[in-house]
């Protein structure tokens, strides 16, 4: 088996503000070349912290205490800032959650899309504009010229997210971090955006780490899943296995709490108290083990 494109190894982090409370508890996961890997969990699970750790933008109140983030054989956590920046611009890109705040409101789409192409790829302004035009066509924008000449506020949410996806794939990155990229969108637009990410990813052989709280969304786009709870991996496996035969009680509880229009009796099942108690015990036992081994 070839080495994964991204391997997170026993990543641990704490919150410095909150009495060194653990935020990530020895999280390990691997994303293969060309794989879409779903990182699923509820708020506080640590999914965004993992995404931020990869991108080198961990907030100052958090601290990575242990572990490695190995991308193409190099530990990103040990790179110098300038080396990390080179990798991030070229090989790792982000599709952010909120398309309305991720674009600079005072610059035209043209300028924002061509920055990376000129600075990282060394294209001329004219070449970069042509490339941006082609990228917008690739994300199925019908009149790329109008969009390139627009300011973000002149575009709908779905359109802005297409622009951000085009920008993320512009430099042909090896890894795309998609952080809840459809949370702010209507369901019909969400479906188009998912389709788009999947088709670009397949065409370019890109690996994607897809962060989401929505089991339905990850079911449709991810090859494999990692289920997180309070910074600890609860379950990992192929999407089909995890959803059809969840092994961890937490995954089962999440599925039972998820409302489904085809099963009106679901979605009203809060996590059973015994599952919550078992989860707390599992986390406490883990923390005690970590403290004991020091």
């Amino acid at each position: 088996m070839t080495a994964p494109r991204l391997a997170i190894e026993a990543l641990s982090a704490i919150s410095l503000r909150d009495g060194n409370r653990p935020i990530l508890r020895r999280v390990s996961l691997a994303v293969a070349t060309g794989e879409v890997h779903g990182l699923v969990g509820e708020s506080g699970a640590g999914k965004s912290t993992i995404a931020k750790a990869i991108l080198g933008i961990i907030p100052s109140q958090l601290k990575v205490t242990d572990g490695r983030i190995v991308f193409e054989g190099r530990d990103l956590l040990s790179l110098l800032p300038k080396d990390l920046r080179a990798v991030l611009g070229r090989d790792i890109a982000l599709v952010p959650q909120d398309p309305s705040t991720a674009l600079n409101p005072s610059r035209r789409i043209d300028a924002q899309m061509t920055d990376g192409l000129r600075l990282k790829r060394g294209l001329s302004a004219k070449q970069a504009r042509l490339r941006a035009h082609a990228l917008l066509e690739e994300v199925q924008i019908r009149d790329p010229k109008r969009v390139l000449d627009s300011y973000p506020h002149q575009l709908s949410g779905g359109m802005r997210q297409r622009v951000l996806i085009a920008a993320a794939f512009a430099l042909e990155p090896k890894l795309v971090i998609a952080d809840e990229p459809t949370t702010a969108l209507d369901v019909t637009v969400q479906k188009q955006i998912l389709r788009l990410i999947r088709s670009l990813q397949e065409r370019h052989g890109t690996s994607v780490l897809f962060v989401s709280h929505d089991l339905g969304v990850v079911a449709k786009i991810c090859d494999r899943l990692t289920v997180l709870y309070m910074g600890k991996v609860m379950e990992q496996g192929s999407t089909a296995d995890v959803l059809a035969a969840p092994r961890h009680p937490y995954t089962k509880a999440l599925l039972a709490a998820n409302p489904r229009y085809d099963r009106p009796d679901t979605g009203l099942e809060p996590t059973p108290p015994e599952v919550i108690a078992a989860l707390r015990a599992e986390i406490a036992a883990f923390d005690a083990g970590v403290a004991g081994s020091r």
Binding site: G157, P259, R260
Partner: protein
């Protein structure tokens, strides 16, 4: 129908002030184009649609928070469309609202106790502070919050707890009708399940009529008896949930349902539904 509680006919709502300094007369965008809707006594009705469908505007027009340009709203047999503030006051208790974001609908400078007690006294449901507090204790027990919650401020509570306070505040007044606008959209699924279950139980126990506005059809399916599908200020389709979800008559409803990702693997799902491209590529 005989047991209609709320009946709206031909509601038209346009935003903006026609003929103000910066807009020409007639420029104000029409958000509702003649909407009819009815909610029976102790019936739960979902109002679904995508952004811009007018679902929130419809809810506000039903409660009299916006004046429609045309159409009527009849509540329990009397026309309430043109009532002024004073005449509407007795209705306020009977028609309650639960908001999307409890953080911004609960006054951060008042304790939860004050937030819950004041409307009880205002509407004369209790004669003394002590009697009002007793009602508050009762409702806190019912929504699964400790009685000590009265001493907290909203920012000291979790999102799920705040939404329980929002529900408590609405139902403690013994209303006949409750409007809930996207009340679970910011919550984790496990918290969402608790809030939905609570609301479903309360509507049953208290014979509440509920209009449940949501963009999430699966949530509506789990809690509502009937559903109204809206698009661009018009009702596309309405009917019992069993029928609409099993066999939608309108192509738009079909498309909305097909766009919901179920938590099951289905390799063909992403590429299905070509009509989606046309409908939402604005």
């Amino acid at each position: 129908m005989a047991d209609d509680l709320l009946l709206a006919r031909g509601l038209v709502v346009a935003y903006g002030r026609p003929g103000s300094l910066f807009t020409r007369r007639g420029d104000s965008p029409v958000v509702l184009h003649g909407v009819d809707i009815r909610v029976g006594k102790s019936e739960t009705v979902g109002i679904v649609g995508e952004s811009g469908s007018g679902k929130t505007t419809l809810g506000r027009a039903l409660l009299g928070l916006i004046k429609p340009a045309a159409g009527s709203v009849v509540f329990d047999g009397s026309d309430i469309t043109a009532l002024d503030e004073r005449a509407r006051r007795p209705l306020r208790r009977r028609m309650q609202m639960i908001f999307q974001d409890p953080m911004s609908s609960l006054n951060p400078r008042h304790t939860i106790g004050r937030i819950l007690i004041e409307p009880i006294l205002l509407h004369g449901l209790a004669k003394s502070h002590a009697a009002a507090l007793a009602l508050v204790h009762g409702i806190l027990d019912r929504v699964g919050l400790s009685r000590g919650t009265v001493d907290f401020y909203s920012y000291e509570l979790s999102g799920g707890q705040r939404q329980r306070v929002g529900i408590a505040r609405a139902v403690v007044l013994r209303p006949d009708f409750v409007l809930a606008d996207e009340i679970v959209s910011g919550l984790d699924v496990s918290t969402q399940a608790q809030v939905l279950r609570l609301l479903k139980e309360l509507t049953g126990e208290m014979h509440l009529a509920l209009a449940f506005i949501s963009h999430d059809l699966s949530v509506v399916r789990s809690i509502c008896q009937r559903v109204v599908v809206m698009r661009e200020g018009r009702v596309v389709e309405e009917g019992p949930c069993e029928r609409i979800f099993a066999a939608p008559a309108a192509a738009y409803t079909r498309m909305l349902i097909d766009a919901i990702p179920l938590p099951t693997t289905d390799p063909g799902w992403l590429s299905r539904g070509a009509s989606v491209e046309v409908a939402a590529s604005a």
